[in-house]
Symmetry: C2
Subunit: 301 residues, 2 copies
């Protein structure tokens, strides 16, 4: 841990990640209107947090970040599908996303349903098509499947109920966040680390590094969503490029709603410490993850 | 080919198939309301054509039909997801399916979107979780991905356009049908045959049997949809348990619309002959597939 973590820009791979997503999109052979809809919602916008995590987690286990590019692609497709479907009139009914009209506003509701479906199917397709080692492909597919079905379960909990009985307010909101947001962030990190380990001919199952990455990701994923809850309370739509103050309007379960703004901020601090602490065994290759976690803990959009 | 094909009931595995789907559903750990929605749309109804084809194709290559059960499960999950999403108000806006209210009528539109998403994700999950051999799992995942993304492309062509320019009426409708219906039927057949071949320790890639099954499936899948077009023109909702005469109302491209009812019936005959002919190299183990193809060519619902 010789280098100063603060000298590394964790977003430096952003351009290469975007080029990777773009090159995937250009290779798709689909109806032209479907391709346009996928490109509209998938390319040229978004924080690319999940691909960035996959890249940085591949790096953190000692590989090139590029080894994690395909993990980022698959997870970002799932993330993008979920945004398109969550924005639908029957769901959150959002008309603004990433600073532009949502897909169902731009291309109609039927296309938004189908383009979402297509991105979900193509996420799994990308894994089986692009992973040379079959055992690794199966393991990645399993991670993606767990992340995706947990995310959908979380969206059900969040918007339609179905939570186990007898949970207190904070346990309910933690269960929702862990599923809705955390599971796919953990999948990004683990898949990136697994591809990284495989690329340097290291065992990727049960590796000590993978345990550290998983602990980091679990804390980071929850922290990310608590920060999101705080942004919804404290920021404006103009600043964030998406509707804010909507959680309270929709009666959603949030950390500020369950434990208040100040305690939620303290929880962000705890989760950041847990995430950073988990990275200790990985040494300096994990520096960009440390910087990223810190930046995400103070983001305002 | 000693046995008389007509003495075998091709639907005999129906009960075992239903039990297999039921046992999969019982093992899912999801929000209770999501599980209910999936069970409502997935269990206890439907022809189970695709699982039946997977079973019979496993048998046709010399294995036990049971070897194809997991192929049937995965493909039926995809089929079921597609019905739920296609029925949505923004899509075909159907309120009747398999003789009961569609899922969005029964459980609301948001749940229908999410339950469909979940079934799609769980279809891929089922492959990676249930296939012991990693290379086979990857090959099955690839078949499922091609079948699913082609089906979605077909739905786009059918309802939103985007067809390549310069195609005549019959080529347009064939392209739609091959994608929307044929691709997933071919996936069922190929996946069943691949699982069958693997279960008897036969190579499942490039096998002569797999070639025969693919030719059978391609003809059968198109035939199935042409028969569907004819049912929509000639039958009543009371008889079929779903809305009829809707293709013409919606201005959809159909075989009867492109070449008339009589020529469509002749085409069913041609496709049946092609399908049955393709099975010749497989001998008597393919008898149930022959019977099934004949029955499907004359079905009226």
């Amino acid at each position: 841990m010789a280098s100063d973590p603060n000298t590394r820009d964790p977003f430096e791979p952003a351009e290469e990640i975007e080029a990777h997503l773009e090159s995937w999109a250009a290779a798709q052979r689909l109806p032209t209107n479907l391709t346009s809809a996928i490109r509209y919602s998938f390319l040229g916008a978004g924080k690319r947090l999940r691909p960035l995590l996959a890249w940085r987690c591949a790096e953190a286990v000692g590989a090139s970040g590029r080894a994690g590019l395909d993990a980022g692609l698959a997870v970002e497709l799932v993330h993008s599908f979920s945004l398109v479907h969550d924005d639908l009139p029957a769901m959150d009914n959002d008309d603004l996303r990433r600073g532009k009209p949502t897909l169902h506003i731009h291309a109609g509701e039927a296309m938004a349903v189908l383009a979402g479906d297509a991105m979900l199917a193509l996420a799994f397709a990308s894994i089986v098509e692009r992973t040379a080692d079959a055992s690794l492909a199966v393991a990645l597919g399993r991670e993606l499947a767990i992340g995706t079905s947990s995310m959908i379960a979380g969206q059900v909990y969040d918007t339609l109920g179905g939570l186990p009985e007898g949970l207190g307010a904070i346990d309910r909101v933690k269960l929702i966040h862990d599923n809705k947001t955390g599971a796919l962030i953990t999948a990004s990190c683990r898949m990136g680390a697994m591809l990284g380990l495989a690329s340097i001919a290291r065992p990727w199952q049960g590796a000590r590094e993978l345990g550290a990455i998983t602990r980091f990701a679990d804390a980071m994923g929850l922290m990310f969503q608590v920060v999101d809850d705080l942004i919804d309370v404290e920021q404006t739509s103009e600043h964030t490029g998406k509707r804010t103050s909507k959680d309270q309007v929709a009666g959603k379960q949030t950390y500020p709603g369950a434990i208040g703004v100040e305690q939620s901020k303290a929880e962000v601090g705890h989760l950041l410490a847990t995430a950073v602490e988990a990275l200790t065994p990985l040494g300096s290759p994990a520096d960009p993850l440390r910087v990223l976690a810190r930046l995400l803990s103070v983001r305002t959009k």
